[in-house]
Amino acid sequence: MRARIVIGGLLVSAGILAVGVESTVTQLSATTSLVQPLAGAAPSSGGTGTEGTSGTAGAAPSSSPSSSDTSGSSPAATTGLTDGTYTGTAVSTRYGTVQVQVTISGGTFGDVTALHLTDDDGRSVQISARAAPVLAQEAVAAQSASIDTVSGATYTSDGYLQSLQSALDQAR
């Protein structure tokens, strides 16, 4: 039996943010504008995770106020990107503050070094660039709310008894 866990607003909001930011990254290659896609991505993330974001970039153009690049695979030579490292303006969203830093090298879009989230507690969560595609899937996971196991700081035998893992183990 698969345990079902009701996940609070934090997870849902974080999941949508991850999708939003990945969308931002996709748009960036076409627009070089960090601020605008970010601002555009934020409102699109309203709601409760039911807008069908699948973690693909497909959600981006429909919600973007900027020009969408329908080809999606423009050669680097036509992007007009100037080499350098760009830090996006920190954009405040209903879910917290979002900020992205990217590196453009050889005219092509390179690493996103970090995106910066500050949640309601004023706590900051940083996610590495390569984590974005993985974490984007969490929107899907949040909807199905299906969790198999929990990773956290190592608990003692006693700490286990109060852990979510313990609840999961008992549920199946």
């Binding site: 866990i5 996940i7 609070g8 934090l10 997870l11 974080a14 999941g15 507690d121 004023g122 706590r123 900051s124 969560v125 940083q126 996610i127 590495s128 660039a129 390569r130 984590a131 993985v134 974490l135 899937q137 969490e138 899907v140 996971a141 949040a142 299906s146 969790i147 198999d148 196991t149 929990v150 990773s151 956290g152 700081a153 190592t154 608990y155 003692t156 035998s157 700490g159 286990y160 109060q162 852990s163 979510l164 893992q165 313990s166 609840a167 999961l168 183990d169 199946r172």
Partner: protein, 239 residues
Amino acid sequence: MTHVFRAMGTVVSVLVDGGAADTATLDAVEAVFDDLDREFSRWRPDSPASRIADGRLSLLRSSDAHRECYAEAVRWRADTAGAFTPHRPDGTVDLAGTIKAAATEAAGDVLDATGHERWCLNAGGDILTRGGTPAHPWNVALADPDHPQHVLRVVSLHGARRAVATSGTSQRGEHVWRTDPESTYRQVTVIADDLMTADVLATAVLAGGPATRSLAERGWPVEIVTVDRTSEPACLSGP
């Protein structure tokens, strides 16, 4: 059906899909942890690890397994520029930082050898899986350090992406010796193909802070999720 047992001061959960593992297999899994604990635990006064620490046994005269484990830990120290170390501040050897991952990997070998194609091992919050697919991944929730019952994020593991390890201060306080003077992070999760890499790098980034994080992101194909300390409640993470 989840099989749960105590080992190495924590709790291990074994989840096998497609028919529960038989008793012999689960016994073998438990034996893997128990054997390594007997050899490497500093909590057991007469373990080789304890005898090495207090000078009763020379590391050079210890078992092949012990010396190989030490050598691997020292390699990790070099690879992480010292952020991960198998030595306590007093200079004695403590291999706890790698031995739980080694035990979990070995336990996974037991499950593989007995023909199980889809399983999930959770050793005190460090995860190793087998058999996740894009359609049917292993969904791993990352614990919220402020709210143990809440979920920070969910990571889906499938294919070669099999491991998640988290180091933090929320459960046992400051058991990691930091080299990052700012103590930037209080929880670090690393997602990797193998658990040893995930576990060591999570510890290293927690200890070494943003500089080690950059090193890890450049040097290994991993994903890293960190929670920093900016608004750490005073009641959390004691000494």
